[in-house]
Symmetry: C2
Subunit: 344 residues, 2 copies
Amino acid sequence: MAATIKDIALRAGVSVSTVSRVISNHPRISPQTAKKVRAIMQELNYHPNLTAKSLVSKSTKTLGILLPKQADVLLLNPFFTEAMRGIVSYSTRAGYDLLMIGPPSNGEELEAVIRIVRGKRVDGILILHSRVNDPVIAYLQKDGFPHVLIGRSEEYPSTLTVDTDNVAAAYDATHCLIRQGHRKIGFVSGPPNLVVSRDRLEGYRKAIREAKLPERDEWIVEGDFLQESGFRAMSFLMGLPDRPTALLVTDDIITFGIVRGLTELGYRVPDDLSLFSFNNISLAELANPPISSVDIGIFQLGYTATHLLIADVEGRSVADRRQIIPHRLLIRGSSAPLNPRVKG
Amino acid sequence: MAATIKDIALRAGVSVSTVSRVISNHPRISPQTAKKVRAIMQELNYHPNLTAKSLVSKSTKTLGILLPKQADVLLLNPFFTEAMRGIVSYSTRAGYDLLMIGPPSNGEELEAVIRIVRGKRVDGILILHSRVNDPVIAYLQKDGFPHVLIGRSEEYPSTLTVDTDNVAAAYDATHCLIRQGHRKIGFVSGPPNLVVSRDRLEGYRKAIREAKLPERDEWIVEGDFLQESGFRAMSFLMGLPDRPTALLVTDDIITFGIVRGLTELGYRVPDDLSLFSFNNISLAELANPPISSVDIGIFQLGYTATHLLIADVEGRSVADRRQIIPHRLLIRGSSAPLNPRVKG
DNA sequence: CTGAAAGCGCTTACAG
DNA sequence: CTGAAAGCGCTTACAG
């Protein structure tokens, strides 16, 4: 059996209280005692039982990452990986472990969150995507359980969040296409229940309106963050009698699907259709043509979110509860000045 | 305060033992009692403290995933994500949570493993990459702690493993290039301390020898699973006075780097260099040209590994402790019959 | 079928 | 500076 604090105490001829204090570097322990106890800990190869520790200290030094119901879709997207990198990077540094919270086979995310939160398995929760009217956020907010959101919450302005200014980002990208001479610009959105989808749509609309360009409902298509969605959006849009010459696309993965579909149909990018998308995943630059994309600093989003959450968990006051990570446009080959041949 | 088992017992007028038995569906509890207790649990919105439960039951219903020291590199690769999808898929179904084990800032992976294992935070450990002489495996093996390896262990044949037959896979892919008329075939390997790198090198060598083709040490290059490595390998190989006409590459990500470099230098794939790689990540098919790749069933590797580990953890006997997931070649545009212009 | 009691391995007032 | 004791929220023989 592995040595416990009791074994150490016995062997060292002190009480378990003393051993516990040595472990936690309590200030009022004599150097000699500490030294002796530490030597025995070494000798017996002692490692504390973290479960027992958590039970009494009410702290787990663990953060939960909520996986969405369709974990598959999220996990397929480099966004997840990149955010994870940022999260792991900070949490490791801060001495926190990470627990993935997968929703039960055919249950809701909220169930899993309740089980973990009430089960005292984590000190705080990271939410990677903000949905409109998210019951998980409502629950955590009501319960007062520490959590941070990558995204934005409309209903709970006091929620700790790290986000891109998606309205501005979409506005900027759209504006870039407008400056290139495009007048018929479409928008391929993500799932409409995500806040990010709404914000980007708003930014897109704002730019179109300001430039007094035509607004056409059929130029706005919704989908998932999957290549298939891009393929479908492309099929629909290119089949329109009056079709756009440029597209703002909400995710690079969707753009890949669009490019692929266009290529299969014999169209060319950007000659037949200019594309500008979001996320700037590493393959965007390597695609053919390279994809123009808004870099939203995904690693930074994850890193900062973790930073904020841990500060909150540890009771340090967080001055700015709604942080914005700056974005930047990377203009590449997939977007180009309007091709005169196509011009309306 | 959240309700505990004690509150339920008090309110229901039974002992805590009885409540505990109701929770765990103990057979010898009267239906009436069970019903009453359950009603109160509902009423008080009771959820068990999982930490307390773990402490006494000595089971956490949690699996640990070991992140390598350079978590960055692993996380950048779609291999990780895809394996995670398989892992999450099975573990969720089986009711297990997942704890990411990140190595301490500048410490070794083994430290983190010991802390988690001895700290009783998980019931078993998943290792995503097998290194030669891996101290982590040595530790877990000696300790008798349940673990499974995606890969192969040379030192501990009794380790639970799920692997590709990498020797055969590399042999098959090399042979495919040979059949296409290539006689000068190079190999771009991953880190040499990984078992997978050695196995694939062996398969490559076997095919070359059998076909009595020239073996040249400078046609074998090592690198990391990064695009930069591909770029560097490409620079080196294309600068050789006598250079290969085809390359077997150990990872799609590396291949992307190679293709990118070749394109920048004005070379064309497959005309100037045929490429065949491993993993068949989803973007391999979409690249230009589409990348020929060995599909090793990464999702399946993760799924099966989790399945085996949980069986082991729960004491069910695992008949085949070293499982092989079949691979298949996907021959696409990046590999083509030797271009006569380049020949000899 | 049910309860009293001991115990899992820790931490932390309290007292000295 | 150190120890005895109580307790964190559960489970599980043991006895009835």
